[in-house]
Assembly symmetry: C2
Homo-oligomer: 187 residues x 2
């Protein structure tokens, strides 16, 4: 791995573990084994490096979701595959957790990739739901846009509940619950 | 307000705004206007004071939720009142946000009131849903425990999406979505 890449990977890990406020430039240097001069040669500072790290994490998250959304199968099967895919639930969502960082939310530049990730996720889920509705796999009473927001919220809230309980059980329960609700109105 | 009370209130505000990691003893002293000696006279340190602050916030959250859960009306009306009650959505949940704090999650003592709050909330919602099912207001296919976890997750995830978007819109959409889903199977 080259130097910028080592810095980005270390920053991604630290942002996930400790958040933006809890991640010091010093900690990034220690984790990456990169020298201070070299860091400031490649990145103007912590915000610049964090932005590169968040963008990378967002891209990977989007690509992973697309694997399940573009599978063959009914809308409900694809949403089930997405929600039940293997996740490191107790670590939480590396993108969602950033919304609790006041410095991220206060910075339009740092918030942008977070917002875009959820926006894109909601849009793709709404497309899957629209297809499912057309095929009678999903109740026609369900509005795709708001149902998509509900599904993404269940996932993000499931992480919150799992971390509170130090157990994946409430995450699994929340996912079970939304899948039964989604299946209800199918023809 | 007496000194311990001023310290508790300032700590509550700071935990909500900046989280546990982002809240220094110095910031608590500045916000409360209390002297260092006085703080350590009443509390053994930041963890002790944070525990008192979290417990207070948890108690208030529980009491507020109970107002809607114990209202007259159908299960769906009470759940609607709970989800649609006026909230400072963009500030996020003062309890849920703590789950993103690695120091809270790593401390059994500090995590305990967070876990208990969500556990109690899920239990009360499951009771409301069980009542609703018995009265035919809620589809009998819905398992109260997992549906309750889903509802709490929608709320917590709704905060995450709203903060990401810097707008209450995705929170409102997620709530609209779950309410339509819950109403689906009612007789």
């Amino acid at each position: 791995m080259d130097t910028p890449e080592r810095l980005i990977q270390s920053t991604r890990e630290l942002l996930w573990e400790r958040g933006y406020t809890g991640t010091s430039p010093k900690a990034i240097l220690q984790r990456s084994g990169v020298g201070q001069g070299s860091m400031y040669h490649h990145f103007s500072g912590k915000p610049d490096l964090a932005l590169a790290a968040i963008r990378r994490t967002a891209e990977e998250m989007r690509a992973k979701a697309e694997e399940q959304f573009s599978e063959p199968g009914t809308a409900l099967e694809r949403i089930t595959a997405y929600l039940r895919r293997e996740r490191d639930v107790l670590r939480g969502c590396p993108i969602g957790r950033l919304t609790q960082d006041p410095d991220i939310v206060a910075s339009p530049a740092l918030r942008q990739p977070v917002d875009e990730t959820f926006g894109r996720l909601r849009q793709r889920l709404a497309e899957v739901l629209t297809e499912g509705r057309q095929r009678g796999e999903i109740a026609s009473a369900l509005d795709p846009a708001s149902t998509a927001a509900t599904i993404v919220a269940v996932l993000q809230g499931g992480y919150v509940l799992a971390r509170a309980a130090d157990s994946t059980e409430p995450f699994d329960q929340a996912v079970d619950g939304i899948l039964v609700l989604l299946a209800q109105g199918a023809r």
